[in-house]
Amino acid sequence: MSMNVQPDLNFIKAMKEAGGDTLKQCYQCATCSVACPLSEDGNPFPRREMILAQWGMKDKLIADPNVFLCHQCGDCTEMCPRGAKPGDVLGAIRAYAYQHYGWPSGLAKLCTSAKNLPMLIGIPALTIFMLWIISGGMHIPSGEKFAHVGYTQFFGHWDWRLLAKNVLFIDLIMLTSVGIAVYSVYKGLSAMWTKMEESLGTTEAPYRPSIPTFIKDFLYPALKEILEHRRFKECTVNADRVRGHLPLLLSFVGLFIVTCYSLFTQDVIGIFIPSMHGPISMWNPVKLLANVSAIALLVGIGILWMNRAKMEAAGKATNTFYDWFLIWMIAGVGVTGLAAELLRLLGIPSLGYVVYYLHLVSVMMLFLYMPFTKFAHIVYRTFAMAFERYRDSAYVKNPLNQ
């Protein structure tokens, strides 16, 4: 069998920049495929991905579910006889894939390099600052008022009860960011799914699952597995990561519930009962969940931060912007969020407002850059895990043909 290999030099360059510079060391012994606890007998990785990457065959790689199934635990890197760091190379391929699928491509490109950090921070910082000026809410409240309303009048206040001024501005910022991210992710996932289906080489499937069936049979089991961290726990050399990642993931779930609750009580119920506005009481169970989540988030990201630093110091992982940017963003959200709350409780409005502003900036960054940074794994890996199930299902493997 002959194969026409058309190496893509830009891809190889991107690999090097994203921490996959050890790629060329690989001599295809396949130790990694056996070392990997997630690699299956009939579909092992990452050995195959290593040679595809060496050849610059990016089209095959971005359509390869294995690339996204990898949890980068480093078991393969630990045992690699050549120091080719397959774990890091797969991470670099994912970084490339997120950029490839990312829309708008300019924003995706911006997220690939530490050189663009001033821009990456500048965009949300300037947007929020401009809106703050436009809103006219640009005055620091008195201590007494601050204790009463907290940050809920950061962007000012008006008496129109159907939509609070502050909510309008927050929604303007965050819903736009989330909207861009959701649209980008939708586009990216559709493209990835199509490519993955094409890579199976099967002809047009006669039946496709309906959306409820898809969720029930493929997406929900994947989500359940993620929540249980079943695959993460298979890793051996880097078991510490579960201790960091699990509280972090649960804290995101917790904070999502809190956000939904707050949105509903303040912006829906609040229309009829104005007293629902303002900070939630410290004794409210939802507030308790928020605080517990905030601490879990900080503990989780702290463990991951130290773990990564330790691995890099030991030469077991490459220092990349791709990995650190997400750690910084999440740590930023956690630290500013909790600090803003503490400053509110301590009654220091001036500093509180500055920290709250930074909190808004970091939250906007997390939302807006989600599809292009390492954060994108929450959707791409989830769907790859769903695809893994789909691939083995009767929709693809027609049992009548077997």
Binding site: Y27, Q28, C29, A30, T31, C32, S33, V34, A35, S39, E40, D41, G42, N43, P44, R47, R48, M79, P81, R82, G83
Partner: protein, 417 residues
């Protein structure tokens, strides 16, 4: 020749096939040669082989003639159980301090074997990699040169020691023997310190000690050798089962920066050679060879071709990265076949790790003033009077060792003429 004043004398450190060759080549052109070995016998790793390349001779074949030449040559003085303590001076004028460990048996020994019979203490047979027990008073192996017994005093009980002493009719047992330190003056030193099989315990994922069905290729040589623990019958250690299937795990410790970065050169050929042993005893046995690349340089290519045609030998391109011990005494080896991109879980009765060559001299070499390369091999520096030969210099076969030893001798005799 005198004991110490060696004008133009050569010291050869290590008496395996390389050291023997270098010593003889230098002596036969008229130089005084001192040949030392840390073992109680000469012949090194070749003595432990069943057959060796290029012509698959038994080791008796090549070693015996060399021993004969040494015995006949008055210019060679041999010291067994002797190691280098320190080196000073320079080319043409080295002072080398040597230490001979106590053998506890002196030159009166006639190798009658009475001491061994009388001895009640046992040790793991070092010559056979511990695959059998032998008496603590022993002849290292059948064709040992010098032909003299050794006593492992530490391993013996007091009553055993007195029985050994009492059994000897020739007053050859000397229990008070002390380490002997002496100094030699030589012009050049040939380092033919050879190699050790890489310690398989260090290959943690291959779980060497988890099953007696996992052996090294050097253990396989002993199993196949007539003078080995099974008298030449290839049986699984532990339960003596006749294996119906074999797996060869290539590059066990070689070409691996976590272990030894170099290619050990001989392991692929050793595997083909050992396949020939298996075929002679088990014509139908299934043999699985797991490899990264099969390296059979030069004329060895045709030897490989012969076995590649055997349909009961399956070659799998992929390194074994996990071995699981099974309840029936066998093991399952796990690898990815990179040509089919599927994992292989192959159950076999006996698994042979093709462990590579680790330079035997180790870090100690630096204390002698030697330059070691990145893999621990001795860099040959004739201008410093330090010349390396054989597997001390690079991982090579016997044939290439002969060449490099002759070359080393040629360099050595030119120093301090």
């Amino acid at each position: 020749m005198s004991d110490t004043a060696g004008n133009g004398a050569v010291l050869v450190v290590g008496g395996g096939i390389s050291g023997l060759t270098a010593a003889l080549e230098a002596a036969e052109v008229g130089k005084d040669v001192f040949l030392i070995d840390k073992n109680p016998y000469f012949g090194g790793r070749v003595a432990q082989l069943n057959q060796y390349f290029p012509k698959l001779c038994p080791p008796t074949c090549g070693l015996e003639i060399n021993f004969k030449r040494i015995k006949d040559n008055r210019r060679i003085r041999t010291y067994s159980m002797t190691t280098v303590k320190s080196v000073s001076g320079g080319p043409g004028n080295f002072q080398v301090e040597l230490e001979t460990a106590p053998r506890y048996i002196n030159s009166n020994c006639t190798a009658c074997g009475a001491c061994s019979e009388a001895c009640s203490s046992e040790i793991d047979d070092p010559f056979n990699f511990g695959m059998r027990k032998i008496k603590a008073a022993y002849l290292p192996h059948e064709m040992a040169f010098p032909r003299r017994y050794v006593l492992d005093k530490q391993a013996c009980s007091d009553e055993s020691l007195s029985a050994v002493k009492g059994a000897c009719k020739y007053d050859a047992v000397d229990l008070d023997m002390q380490p002997e330190v002496f100094t030699l003056n030589v012009s050049a030193i040939v380092w033919s310190t050879g190699w050790n099989p890489y310690d398989p315990e260090k290959l943690e994922n291959l779980k060497f000690s988890s099953s007696s069905a996992i052996i090294t290729n050097m253990m396989m040589e002993r199993l196949a050798a007539d003078n080995g623990p099974t008298a030449g019958k290839i049986l699984r250690p532990g339960d003596d089962k006749e294996p119906e299937s074999f797996a060869f795990v290539q590059c066990a410790g070689s070409r691996d920066e976590n272990h030894m970065e170099h290619c050990s050169y001989i392991c692929c050929m050793a595997t083909f050679k050992q396949i020939s042993y298996i075929r002679a005893q088990y014509p139908e046995a299934k043999i699985y060879v797991f490899y990264i690349d099969l390296r059979t340089p030069g004329k060895y290519e045709s030897f490989r071709a012969k076995f590649m045609d055997d349909e009961n030998i399956i070659f799998i391109k992929g390194k074994v990265a996990d071995i699981v011990a099974e309840n029936d005494g066998g093991v399952t080896v796990v690898a990815e076949d990179t040509l089919t991109a599927k994992k292989v879980n192959q159950k076999v009765d006996l698994c042979v790790l093709a462990t590579g060559m680790q330079p035997a001299i180790g870090e100690q070499g630096k204390a002698y003033g030697l330059t070691l390369d990145g893999n621990g091999f001795v860099v040959s520096e004739p201008e410093k009077g330090m010349i390396s030969a054989g597997c001390a210099k690079a991982a090579v076969d016997v044939y290439s060792s002969g060449q490099s030893s002759t070359a080393a001798a040629l360099k050595a005799i030119q120093i301090g003429r």
